[in-house]
Amino acid sequence: MNDTLAPAASDAADNLPVHPIGKVIAVTSGKGGVGKTFVSANLAAALAKRGLRVLVLDADLGLANLDVVLNLYPKLTLHDVFTGKATLDEAILPAPGGFSVLLAGSGMIEYSRLTPEVRGEFLRVVHSLVPRFDVVLLDTGAGISDVVLFAVSLASEILMVATPEPTSLTDAYATIKVLVGQQQRERIRLIVNQTTRAGSGVAITHQLQQVLDRFVVSGLGRSFTLSHLGDIPADPEVRQAVMRRQLLMQSQPTCSASTAIGQIARALAEKLVSKDG
């Protein structure tokens, strides 16, 4: 059954081979807590509203919190799929917002180290998901751990989430540097979350691109583009929704953050379509 899947490659995590899979989009960040999970879940709902079949995979194996955001506590999770106790179909759940989720489940901490087995299992799961959905969103952990880099390496599109804080931007920059160098990425899309002023995302993207050009791209012999995908304003409704365990896109579809995510979904959907055709 798995014979169509690439076997787990060499153990050397430093040289992860990149096999980007179309339709797989990684949501990642340099620093933790900047809103990856919030963006993944709500972007999934926004894409679903546009008629796409979307699945969010909790790829933050070490510390999953998609379950909390979606208020879903299933009996069977990715952990059970990895250990053979459940089939994929049993572990895929419908989420509020019209998309599907595959939650990591507690116990995934055991998988926080990227052994060949974990890589193999992960690949197997992602490859089996791809034919069933239009978009597979990976909600990854922060930073540049083996697991995060591996999960990101599977994606054809990388969405980097950062807040306008200097520490978040520095970590985003450092992570982009690693991804450009190690995974030969040519484009990463930046989402600036929790902005307090219109236009700051564009300015931040421009600034990051300039520093990347000077310190990273110049020695590369190829181009790299950091594209600004959109800003999401800091919005008190986000916190309210989190406290009530509701999906913002569903409970407050017209608030400023939801509107921004809707625009991001449209831009992303257009990019995905234009790439196909």
């Binding site: 070490g62 751990s145 083996d146 807040t163 520095t170 920059y173 450092a174 300015a203 931040i204």
Partner: protein, 250 residues
């Protein structure tokens, strides 16, 4: 305060404890004027101390090591400090024992323990991890310095002339494997030790008397890059997402 009479020292079987402390050159007698509670506390502290110590070398033992390592993981998770774990193994120790006898072997262990203790800073922890295996935990050790520190330890041991008998000295070497605490992945002591152990194995198979480190991927952003990152951005573009203003409901 407890009245002294609540503790009847004569009713307690303290002989074994006292003998242990005596053996460790700790004063186990009750000082004149010392309260019974204070004396008992001193005996208990002495026993705790003993339970964490390797009797042959005087270094921390494996239990001590695990305690320090667990605390280091907590610190790393909260502060992002770089903590390096080194596992050190004496090369060809079995043949030293076979050739020169176990007393000579003990002498080698003691000499290396002393050397390790002299090589590190007061904040570092040196422990005897197993028979001929030692461990060093180095907090606040930036990745750029890890190799230099480990090399210094390796070279210091190699330079030792160990007296094993009158007019007979011996030189030994050690292999060192090291790994940094996983910073982003919430991990466990076992996984950390395993990564250091893999490097130790590598050092052994690559010919011994060498250092192999599992290097963390560096999040290297130079001061110049940082300066440029923020130079053009106006302050309010970098505004910290401060506390959300209270909402007035109409």
């Amino acid at each position: 305060m407890l009245p002294d009479s609540l503790v009847d020292l004569h009713a307690l079987q303290l002989d074994d404890a006292r003998a242990l402390l005596e053996h460790d050159a700790q004063n186990s007698d009750r000082d004149p004027g010392e309260s019974a509670v204070h004396y008992l506390q001193r005996v208990i502290d002495g026993l705790c101390d003993l339970s964490l110590k390797d009797p042959l070398t005087g270094l921390g033992n494996r239990r001590h090591f695990h305690g320090v390592l667990a605390r280091a993981i907590e610190t790393v998770a909260r502060s992002g400090d770089s903590v390096l774990l080194l596992l050190l193994d004496i090369d060809h120790f079995k043949s030293i024992n076979d050739t020169y006898g176990h007393l000579a072997g003990d002498q080698v262990l003691r000499a290396i323990a002393g050397c390790l203790a002299r090589c590190v800073r007061p904040v570092d922890t040196v422990a005897r991890y197993g028979g001929e295996e030692f461990a060093v935990i180095l907090p606040h050790c930036r990745p750029a310095f890890g190799r230099a520190v480990a090399e210094r330890i390796r070279a210091s041991v190699a330079a030792l002339a160990i007296d094993i008998a009158p007019l007979q000295t011996l030189s030994v070497t050690i292999s060192i494997g090291g790994a940094y605490a996983p910073e982003w992945v919430r991990s466990t002591a076992d996984l950390w030790i395993e990564r250091a152990d893999q490097q130790l194995y590598r050092a052994k198979t690559e010919g011994r008397n060498r250092v192999c480190l599992d290097q963390p991927r560096e999040l290297a952003v130079s001061a110049e890059e940082k300066g440029l990152l923020f130079s053009q951005l106006e302050l309010d573009e970098l505004a910290l997402p401060g506390p959300v203003p209270p909402r007035v409901n109409a």
